[in-house]
Amino acid sequence: MAEAILLIILGYAAVGAGFGVPFLLRGIDRIDPAARGSPWTFRLLILPGVIALWPVLARRWRRAPRPEGAP
């Protein structure tokens, strides 16, 4: 039981970390114009939150308008 809880939490966090890297490199600029050109320290600072709340951000990224010039 306890092992199952721990596995679920770790799995969730692992997906969050896997999502976090491309999100902080590209996705964040798409969902929030104010993040364009922001320093990497800022991106690192919000990484823990991205790992915890990745489903919210993933939904926003999917719905974000395509960048100009993309097909």
Partner: protein, 356 residues
């Protein structure tokens, strides 16, 4: 404001404040450990780990009290406003100290066996039905998770991307964390059979936090009720909201008009302007702010708006609603219907008395 994010919004005040917090935490921990070493010697000596666990735990618990009391204190007395501006940094610091407490506690009490310490924390005590043997550590774990979520989402990025209402709701959960911690500490003290005056301190903390919230809430209600009565003295659209002498120069005042809506009044350059009391950032009380560099400056995070038209000075683009205002004799009258955000309104000139 929303022109590119910075990692941490540090300015000179915040640096001073953060150094004070860091120094204060270090001093508290040092004093706690020295006192513990000198007071308990010989057979009563406490191990270094337990002393560290207690020092860090009580430190984080105290810091949480300061965090929770700043809101009502700032509403009761403006001199506490600087604490409010810096509350986010204090919240993050509280989480870090609590994390250190929990890490050492888990390592110390659950780290020896070959069971994973986390599994051990979750399984070693399942006396959920008994108060005197309840696994109080689990309450601490739940509270720590909440503190983590709040610290992790404290950056403005989250405020904007979760939306202010959701962000606010998330951060109200701090009260749940506080309740869990009161139980964590109370049961922990009960189970480690510590002296009863510790329980007294925990109780005093609860009374102070709850009391301040009740007093500040009651005062706000009284203010609103007096405001609502004002609507009786309407003439045309104009509602009398007070005397120009009630508004200190370069400062604001809050007036409540019928329906409970709050309007912020500002006095500067011999004029009065009126805007909504609600900051576009996070709903901060603009009427408690000041005029800095000719702009209304929100007391919470310092967003600025020109009092004449409610627009943030370039390059910022935020806008707040303005209100029509006039001065008759020494009385200020406003039109309670808000104008569209960013609408320019001629400030009302104050006719100076020319005595003798």
């Amino acid at each position: 404001m929303s022109v590119g994010y910075v990692t941490v919004q540090w300015n000179r005040h915040k640096r001073v404040y953060d150094s004070l917090v860091g120094g204060g935490v270090a001093l508290y921990l040092a004093l706690f450990i020295i006192a513990g070493k000198t007071l308990y010697t010989g057979a009563h000596a406490i191990s270094d780990e337990i002393l560290a666990i207690r020092a860090l735990g009580t430190c984080a618990y105290l810091m949480l009290h300061v965090v929770l009391c700043t809101g009502p204190l700032a509403r009761l007395d403006r001199r506490f406003l600087p604490l409010l501006y810096n509350r986010r940094h204090l919240g993050v610091a509280t989480f870090l100290v609590a994390l250190a407490h929990a890490t050492i506690a888990i390592g110390f009490y659950h780290g020896f066996g070959n069971v994973n310490p986390f599994i051990s924390l979750l399984t070693s005590n399942v006396n959920l039905g008994s108060l005197s043997a309840f696994p109080f550590q689990l309450l601490g774990l739940a509270a720590l998770l909440i503190l983590f979520l709040m610290a992790a989402t404290s950056h403005d990025f989250w405020l904007k991307n979760l939306g202010a209402p959701a962000w606010k709701r998330l951060h109200m959960v701090v009260y749940l964390a506080y309740a869990l911690l009161v139980l964590h500490v109370a049961l922990g003290i009960l189970q480690t059979q510590r002296s009863p005056w510790l329980a007294g301190l925990v109780g005093a903390g609860v009374v102070i936090v709850a009391g301040l919230h009740v007093v500040a809430g009651l005062r706000e209600r009284g203010h609103d009720r007096r405001g609502a009565q004002r609507t009786a003295r309407v003439n045309g659209p104009w509602v009398d909201v007070g005397c120009v002498d009630d508004v200190p120069d370069r400062r604001g005042m809050t007036a409540t008009v019928g329906g409970g809506e709050r309007i912020a009044l500002f006095r500067y350059d011999g004029c009065i302007s009126a805007t909504t009391n609600v900051c576009a950032h996070q709903g901060g009380p603009l009427g408690e702010g000041r005029i800095i560099d000719g702009c209304v400056t929100c007391p919470w995070h310092g967003w600025q708006y020109r009092p004449g038209d409610g627009q943030s000075p370039p390059p910022f683009t935020e806008r707040i609603a303005t209100h029509r205002v006039r001065v008759v004799g020494r009385r200020i009258q406003v039109d309670p219907t808000p104008l569209a955000p960013g609408t320019a309104v001629t400030p009302a000139r104050i006719e100076e008395d020319h005595h003798g």
